[in-house]
Amino acid sequence: MSVDPSLATFLLEARDLLEQMEEALVGCRKAEPDAETVNAIFRAAHTIKGAAGLFGLSRIVSFTHAVEGVLDRVRGGALGLEAVLVDLLLSCADHVATLVNELEADGATESQDAAAGTENEAALLAELRRYLEPERRPAKPPAGPAAPQRHTASPTPATSEEDIWHLSLRFGREVFRRGLDPLSFLRFLGGKGTITALVLLPDAIPAPESFDPRACYLGFEVAFRGKVDQAELEKVFALMEDDCQLRIVPPKSRLDDYLRLIEALPEEPMRLGEILAACGSVTADEIEAALVVQRDRTTPPPPLGSLLVEHGKVSPVVVEAALAKQRQAAQATKARESRSVRVDADKLDQLVDLVGELIIATAGTKMVARNVRLAALQDCMATLAGLVESVRDSALQLRMVKIGATFNRFQRVVHDVSKELGKDIRLQISGEETELDKTVVEKMADPLTHLVRNAMDHGIEAPAVRAARGKPAHGTIRLNAFHDGGSIVIEVTDDGGGIPRDKVLDKAIERGLVAADSSLTDDEIFRLIFEPGFSTAAEVTNLSGRGVGMDVVKRNITALRGSVSVSSEEGQGTTVRVRLPLTLAIIDGFLVTLGETVFVVPLEIIEECVASSAVAGHDYANLRGRALPFIKLRDFFHAGGTPPRRESIVVVKLGEQRAGLVVDGLLGETQTVIKPLGKMFSRQKYISGSSILGTGDVALILDVPALVQEARRGRREDA
């Protein structure tokens, strides 16, 4: 179901604000909050309330109103922001998030009867009320009875009680002389529903010299709520239709409609004081909200401010003057705002897809150009190819986001989980500026959450144990990210007990995962925790230790063409290191051949290419005096045919290890657009995808890490 674009904006902004609120609240737990933090929390709640009011979302408005009430007291110094209150406010933020999500899921229907939330909401409200002054009026829905309401996506006249019409009235000079009184018409209108706001605009009244007391210069801006349709409203003013400019903006109109209205209005600036009050009449609840904003802040929260303006509830005049005082402070914000644009992620995906096709097409053209042997054409092609490459980089860059936002979300996870576990755990974050593909970030959220929870649950010891080991009472989880070659590395580190090597081994033997007499390196043992059905937790907790988890984490990461490794020192702590490709769509590849088949090796892992210097019968080559283990792809894939006289070795580097791939020939670099393999090939372990070459041929992308790992295992078994 399509959502009104302006509502979609609201949803986005509400989420951002909730995130900010959460971040600030979690910050309060760690350090005594300063005034700015408290203000930030208040502003977030306040802005959500204000914006929700514009959409007539009375449930969100009334709830955030209560939250705001409590926050206002905190801000005023009447309440301390102690831990219990912080937790309550966090729960409230969660609840608002639920409401917002529901709103989106139901296609902009604020369902009153959503059983999921109401009980919780009542409980939260009761809690909140305890923090409000006894004499303070309890939070009540400011805009009429909170009846179930529908929000139609299109501005159709099918309206319900909550729908607010906006009317702009400019009366003609002759109105009075014709025996008509604008006030009577407004009273009549009032009888059809409720006039929720009304602003008289005296701006058209001329100077004394030209003022005629018998002429009418009045204008009104009216917000009206009622079960009416446009025709009915027009009928109200039909009597003076020639003497009145009537503009009606139906409920749930697009912001553009309001903007157009604003442009059409003739008014001049009014006095600021009057304007503030005029703002007040925008919607019932906005009176208070808008006034508070104007009074308290040098910079208005841009979302609320601009929504108000765009909604045309405030006349252009109002905006002009109200903003004049704040313009200077707002300028900085404005500049920043206009420098970024929100774009639908789907559009970006589409762009990247197109760029992919473009690259394939360029490769094809390049080949034809080469065959035609026209020097001029080849020159042009070279330029074109360079540009396409730049376009590719820019397109991919658009999808890059900083990982900081994801990391910060874990403040909340750590806060909640540490409470649940009765451990005092702090989160340290570094490398927030590291960028990676949006899709990767999204898909990493779950695995990362699991890793963090796992570290808190299994990693960090109970406070008593920590004390006995002479560690600080509070545990520390560290999240770190950095770029390494063509990958991003994300580390989850804890300073807990470390992985008990022997316990893991015992368990693995018990489960039959490894042979009882096998000698494994630490690295190999730690890798066992990612095997399905493996868990070392002595007791199963709510969080982890159910034996599902680490293997799922690994599968998720592998699906992203990533890898995961663990290092741990008993008593000192554990680090889980996740290595992910920067992007999922396009890589720089290196083409190699094996008989007629073309393979792609990701360029970023290639160190060099050398002529094969293998001694027959060995699977080691001598690379400048060092032994280089290699894999003969021909043997590995059981491809027939005879190897050429001179084979080549592609030297790849995986983390700290080097390995060689023996291939028939080298074709050179190419940009590779990754096409996923069909379901049929999903069991094919050593191929991670396919790509189409300029010739139209298909090349297979080698999953080198899997290949090397498998080769190493095979070698051990042979030994």
Binding site: V175, F176, D181, P182, L183, S184, L186, R187, G190, A197, L198, V199, L200, P202, I205, A207, P208, F211, P213, R214, C216, Y217, L218, R271, G273, E274, L276, A277, A278, G280, S281
Partner: protein, 117 residues
């Protein structure tokens, strides 16, 4: 203190550039030119004009517009117009059409505060 008559302008009091002008009866279109003249006259005589609305029994669109006009004219000339002692009819109308914001509260008037000095 003020004489309640139906003649606009009667009972006008002046003190040091302050004019107190009682308005009474119906402030409606029918009498609007008369009221306009009285207001213009009062504005010409003092810097602060206090409109006593205690005896106003009816106000219509034209009346409201005239009050607005007075207010704006005064502002433009650096003068001041205050509305005081609003009658119930006036108060209700002001509330109904959200005119408080335009006219300001009755408390703002100097004369009332410095009052019967």
């Amino acid at each position: 203190m003020t004489t309640s008559t139906t003649t606009p302008g009667a009972g006008t009091r002046e003190r040091a550039g302050d004019v107190r002008l009682p308005l009474s009866g119906r402030m409606v279109f029918d009498r609007i030119e008369e009221l306009h003249a009285v207001l213009m006259d009062a504005l010409a005589r003092g810097t602060t004009l206090e409109l006593d609305l205690a005896e106003v029994v009816e106000l219509d669109g034209a009346g409201v517009q005239l009050l607005l006009f007075a207010k704006r004219t005064a502002l433009a000339r650096g003068q001041k117009v205050c509305l005081v002692r609003e009658s119930r009819a006036v108060r209700e109308l002001f509330e109904q059409f959200n005119l408080r914001s335009v006219f300001g509260g009755p408390m703002l008037c100097l004369w009332d505060e410095e009052g019967e000095r």
